[in-house]
Subunit: 341 residues, 2 copies
């Protein structure tokens, strides 16, 4: 069977293509009865509306906004923080009648998917420079979330400040040895301790800033915190978190405070602590970062910094849609003081 198009429909109905097009897009341009007739007949022929590709070519719009994730789709998206962000963005976009497109930042396909969107929200530190370049070149509105790229507006939190704050609080509560379970501090895919010279190597601005916050708080409180007590965790999941936590907690003397760069890491550490028969917070205090839902109902409930990722997403999406892509917004967080510290 021949494909049903506007043109085919128009011929079949004996009207012009423009009229059929208007029936779909500009009801005021034709009489109500003709419009109804066209729509009915279109339904009958199984016409599923004007071809989106052609429309997009003609209008230059696609009504899609892309989120450029820093990793693969499956990884980025299984992270609870990313998930919250996506949710926030999705809410706003949906209200605005826009569609959301998730783009993997890991593979180098120069695809339709990349060319189509009307705007981009770049999430996290881009790992693919060519892709970033293409996106910049596109001339479409861009916005960074949880990253900073010169000349591009952004929505961020003050990672340094809140890392400092929670570390300060934790250090005051808990004397003894301190260890940091850090996320993506160096370029290795294995859990390991840092070398002294790697202290400020982190490519991920977020991780670097959080570490700097911890270090500043330790210095301010005159507490020791050397590179050898700072673990690098390559992936933000339970598995790697547990490996690192086990290493850290089986030292002699054992640390009494774990500063964790994410809630997932902290939750992994909690389960290791339990396996080792340690009591939290008596033997060991743990703090996280992010404020994911799971941290509320963990046992013990996790003391952490709540960054409101959904709100971050909503704000970013609204800014992008409003064309406000120059501003650099810094969102407040809150310390959530619970039982783990």
């Amino acid at each position: 069977m021949p494909k049903v198009t506007l043109k085919a429909l128009a011929k079949h109905l004996g009207v012009s293509v423009a009229t059929v097009s208007n029936a779909f897009n500009r009801p005021d341009q034709l009489s109500a009865e003709l419009r109804k007739h066209i729509l009915q007949e279109s339904e009958k022929l199984g016409f599923s509306g004007p071809n989106a590709t052609a429309r997009s070519l003609r209008t230059g719009r696609s009504d899609m906004i892309a989120i450029l994730l820093s990793d693969t789709l499956e990884y980025s998206v299984s992270d609870p923080v990313a998930n919250q962000l996506i949710k926030g963005i999705a809410e706003v976009l949906q209200d605005a009648g826009k569609d959301m497109l998730l783009l993997s930042g890991a593979k180098a396909v120069h695809s339709t998917a990349e060319a189509l969107p009307d705007g981009f929200i770049i999430y996290g530190s881009p790992k693919n420079p060519e892709q970033l370049e293409r996106v910049k070149q596109s001339g479409k509105p861009l916005l960074c979330v949880d990253c900073n790229l010169s000349g591009i507006g952004s929505v961020n939190i003050d990672n340094y400040q809140y890392a400092y704050d929670i570390a300060e609080y934790a250090l005051q509560k808990q004397p003894g040895k301190v260890a940091v379970l850090g996320l993506r501090l160096i370029d290795s895919d294995r859990v390991c301790r840092l070398q002294q010279h790697e202290l400020y190597d982190a490519n991920e601005a977020i991780s670097r800033r959080r570490l700097e916050g911890y270090l500043a708080a330790a210095t301010q409180q005159q507490r020791e915190l050397n590179a050898e007590q700072i673990w690098h965790i390559p992936v933000n999941n339970h598995h790697y978190a547990q490996i690192a936590a086990r290493e850290a907690l089986t030292q002699h003397p054992r640390p009494t405070l774990l500063l964790c760069m994410s809630d997932r890491i902290a939750l992994g550490a909690i389960s290791v602590a339990r396996q080792l028969g340690l009591n939290i917070p008596q033997d060991l205090r743990i703090v996280g970062f992010d404020g994911i839902e799971e941290a509320e109902r963990s046992y013990p409930a996790l003391t952490t910094v709540a960054q409101h990722s959904d709100e971050k997403g909503r704000i970013a999406a609204r800014m992008l849609l409003a064309g406000n892509t120059a501003e650099n917004v810094l969102l407040p967080c809150e310390l959530r003081l619970r039982d783990s510290c």
Copy 2:
């Protein structure tokens, strides 16, 4: 500045558009030196390759394959089973030079995103009939995963059989009262027990089949399993799982065996059991379904049915790409007998 297009480039270089197009797509159609020149100049002008929308309109292809998720993006994608599937699909598509598009099945936008892909993998029971209809109408290759739609090829597992098998195993191991923590058995967004007449109501074929498997095994073993011992859990997450588990495990007499329709539910149940001071497997045996990674390292390790979602994804993607969209494939699973039962 004027937009850089093939045409503009051609004029600037003094060659025809066809030649520029060929420089990008068919190297054999022009001399190597001219091609090199064109590519260099194109780079210089910041031309990021032929416009994807126009190409797609002309060729009718987009080199994108969509996964039509049954829920919202953020929800579907945070589920570990869905994640595994996506990963498997992504692997195959990437090797084939195709792009992957994640489509929310929850909202009713009739979008570019929906019109563009060259094919669809429908994951889970579609909740949006109009959307499904549009996709079917498109005439593009379709494939179901974890669902069955008449006339559409599919990749599934035998939910009934494996639910039966694991229930049979568990029932033999454990005497006493049995409860089922079921997923999406009825149309309610709250945790509740089933009514007798709701036993076979589940819209989700997967859940219905698993429940039938449990019931058959119970009958076969002459064990009691009434609707009042079957819980409906609306969302596959820790939170709701815990609510249901708490209800089930605070009954008198207390169930000694929990048949859980997903690993996530089972893990939630394990943590409730721990909170209640119950020993697993002495006081209580628990089995799950799915075989997610987390189930290996839980304490105690979870006895479950491993369905290999990544493999399912790979197979589905290969079938779709090969045009094999009529077959109905049933993949084998494995019982993973661990400590929780």
